[in-house]
């Protein structure tokens, strides 16, 4: 989609978050000298095009007691990845699952699955379910636990001219 100057101003106004007031769209519209209906029409168009995935909360898994955050990584036979990938992605404890390129020889893994749990033991148990699904297609795997959040701000656009 093409983003015009008004869309861009809307994105810049909202990338830090939506105001937590009863009429948030009205407040943002007023700050941008727009009618509320123009703002919501533009946001609806951005959702339609996929530029906005959803307007929602981002939870901090650590603060919700999910203190073990394991990025499980797998070297899976490319020939079966499209068969097993959706099965891994559909597991209730897998929050994100992606195919990514390998970086040989240092990094042989082509499938990533984020597994959250209240302990590393729990993540390890869940991991075994993935091992079972992958079966013979599995060549190597590893789990990278996050030990610290170093930054978490979400997407920020540079202002034009920066």
């Amino acid at each position: 989609m093409s983003i015009d100057a008004t869309d861009r101003a809307i994105i810049e106004a909202l990338q830090g978050g939506l105001p937590l007031v009863p009429q948030p769209y009205l407040e943002v519209a007023q700050s941008l000298n727009l009618e509320e209906s123009e703002l919501t029409d533009r946001l609806a168009a951005m959702k339609e095009s996929g530029a906005i995935r959803r307007i929602a909360a981002a939870p901090n898994h650590y603060k919700l007691g999910m203190t073990a955050n394991g990025m499980t990584v797998w070297d899976v036979d490319d020939a079966v990845l499209n068969d097993v990938g959706p099965k891994i992605g559909a597991l209730p404890f897998v929050t994100h699952s992606y195919e990514r390129p390998r970086a040989l020889p240092d990094w042989p893994y082509n499938l990533f699955a984020m597994v959250h749990g209240s302990s590393r033991e729990e993540v390890e148990e869940k991991r075994q379910e993935i091992v079972a699904i992958l079966g013979d297609a599995l060549r190597a795997s590893d789990t990278l636990y996050s030990t610290r959040i170093l930054k978490k701000t979400g997407l920020r656009l540079r202002k034009k001219g920066d």
Partner: protein, 150 residues
């Protein structure tokens, strides 16, 4: 762990669904939970301040805006980890960054509204730190979702 009651937990789940584009978007959810709009907003603010929610608002998809996201990793020597961390985090394109238990011990996501922006940011980080930036762009996605027991 923060003390969340059952209403907070229901809010964490419900607020991960799309907020409607209406004049009073929080009202239907408040009513369904049997609380006032103001109580709902005050609970969300408290969870924002305590860090239970890291943000609340639109999730922009850089790809659909003509840009890109890319997961990147670096092998950072322990003795200069903090220094490298400051250099990496100073880039606006770094949307989030985690330390992880691996030889590749720093994992961050670059997000830009142009495809070239990813390579430019990665090149700058390599230049500033003298370390290789491994790029792992997503080739396909299999699922997204997260729910706490409410």
């Amino acid at each position: 762990m923060s003390q969340l009651d059952h209403i907070d937990r229901a809010l964490v789940n419900a607020l991960q669904d799309d907020l409607p584009l209406t004049n009073r978007p929080f009202l239907p959810l408040a009513e369904s939970l049997g609380i006032s709009e103001n109580e709902l907003l005050s609970r969300v603010k408290t969870m924002r301040e305590s860090g239970v929610l890291t943000r609340f608002g639109p999730f922009f998809d850089a790809v659909r805006m003509g840009g890109a996201f890319c997961l990147c990793a670096m092998e950072v020597p322990e003795d200069c980890f903090d220094e490298v961390n400051d250099l990496v985090n100073a880039h606006l394109e770094v949307a989030h960054n985690y330390e992880r238990s691996h030889k590749l011990n720093m994992w961050f996501v670059l997000g830009c509204d142009t495809k070239e922006g990813i390579q430019e940011a990665a090149d700058k980080i390599e230049g500033e730190t003298g370390l290789q930036v491994y790029q792992f762009p997503k080739l396909q996605e299999f699922f997204i979702g997260f729910r706490v027991a409410a």
